[in-house]
Point group: C2
Chain length 284, copies 2
């Protein structure tokens, strides 16, 4: 059976209503396409938790800043279709920009405090674009479960808060980061890297490992951990730090002295490509 | 059969899921309680269009400004229950403030341009409170149809836009203004008026009738209509004008020369009570 592509919101809702009436559970994996093994792990997880999986593919213009890479963001629709099918997806929801943002579009969904720091500080308006489009995707596909990757840790936290706050009746599930053999977190944006940059990009994960080891060895001062990670990153010529942060994994507020569940998160420019990664540290 | 009161979002959603699986259509009438004949007309209309009607009763703190009447807003729950039952409602959804806004609440829904003028200009943050709570109520009660009164014309327009923009799968229906014998639009806030103020409050409808008559007699300049209406209102000692406006009924943008479907809308303080009213003029 070949995968079905739905491009209209109304048709997506009609499909979801029908499936729900049949008593089946719907999973949704929202993506911007250019699928890699990370996305496929989300689709497989959704498939385990539900009966039918919708993968949305929509490069959402409103979550890109004016100087960001919306135009050049990689589009690989034919290949994506094959991968979704292989991973067990049943429907691709691929609306056009006009379908999602018709003339007169005037509404936004905002999560305030959780989007103040980390990527929210570097990318003004980004999370408003994300929360608005995810609300729309949830209302279109009407899933019981939606799956997001932990690489975008702040995004997952923000969406979880939004879903709770707006009473959206969907369970948000997160799945672990999938990494290349050398530790680099999988990302559609890795395709932008030159061979030299690709090698330097390993420093994101290496610095996280360094931070993790420091904590294992007893370090508890966030400033010490951040300083050591920054030194490691700055040694790479192609790397420019956006942020390195240690925050509470629930509130995303900076912590000075580690306790409880902390997130070490970073964003680093490798040449013209901005990459992110993170690790969660559990206090034993 | 006595009416059922549901206070928890989860219980409301479970009820809605069950009713939907039975193939029944759900109607929702969102209110702040203190029900009057206007609300009852909405419930009856919802009942005509659907199989089971939920009336939500929630005095939403976030749509009141800091100097507004949240604390003293009339609460008449026992009487409301009887009235809902008589009008054909089946469920009252009456969540507490903590249920709707749990600790850490951080999300808002905003409609931008449509909320700039009219009541949006006089009541900063009001419509953000309304759109956020209505999204929550729609996600809790999962109605097929939600009914709003035309007295809050801008509110209905804003909600219609929000529902379209967010892909909320619900039909928004509006119902005509219900008036007292002397023309005063029904409102829970009419209860605030002293006998003297109650008499002066008739000027809202009287001035709208004057504007309507001017248009019927050929007047097309909005400034002329507004000036005549203001003169009429200002003749009442207890009245203080918030706004008198002539706007396009779709965009809610001011019009200078009447054509197409126009809205004449006003907000007037009668003593310490702010009342609103409007009339839609259709160009023949």
């Amino acid at each position: 059976m070949s995968i079905r592509v739905i491009e209209q919101v109304r048709a997506m809702q009609a499909w979801a209503d029908k499936v729900r009436r049949e008593g089946k559970r719907i999973g949704l994996v929202p993506t911007m396409g250019c699928l890699h093994e990370g996305h496929l792990s989300l689709i497989r997880l959704a498939r385990k938790r539900t009966d039918v999986v919708v993968v949305s593919i929509f490069v959402n213009p409103t979550q890109f800043g004016p100087t960001e890479d919306f135009e050049k963001y990689p589009r690989t629709f034919d290949r994506d279709q094959e991968l979704v099918e292989q991973a067990g997806g049943e429907i691709i929801f691929a609306p056009g920009v006009e379908e999602m943002y018709p003339p007169g579009f005037d509404t936004s969904v905002t999560v305030a405090r959780l989007t103040k720091g980390l990527c929210g500080a570097s990318r003004p308006g980004h999370f408003r674009g994300v929360t608005t489009v995810v609300t729309k995707l949830l209302c279109a596909a009407k899933p019981h479960v939606a799956v997001f990757g932990q690489k975008d840790f702040q995004q997952a936290a923000v969406i979880r808060r939004m879903v709770r706050d707006l009473n959206l009746d969907v369970e948000i599930v997160t799945a672990p980061i999938v990494r290349e053999a050398d530790g680099l977190a999988m990302s559609s944006r890795n395709a932008y890297l030159s061979p030299k940059e690709r090698r330097d990009a390993r420093v994101l994960f290496q610095s996280l490992e360094k931070g993790e080891k420091m904590v294992r060895d007893g370090e508890r001062e966030a400033s010490e951990i951040i300083a050591a990670m920054k030194t490691e990153i700055e040694a790479k010529p192609a790397a420019r730090i956006d942020y390195v942060a240690v925050v509470d994994a629930e509130t995303l507020e900076p912590v000075t002295h580690l306790k409880g569940r902390a997130l070490v998160a970073l964003a680093v420019w490798i040449g013209k490509t901005r990459l992110i990664d993170n690790v969660v540290l559990e206090e034993k």
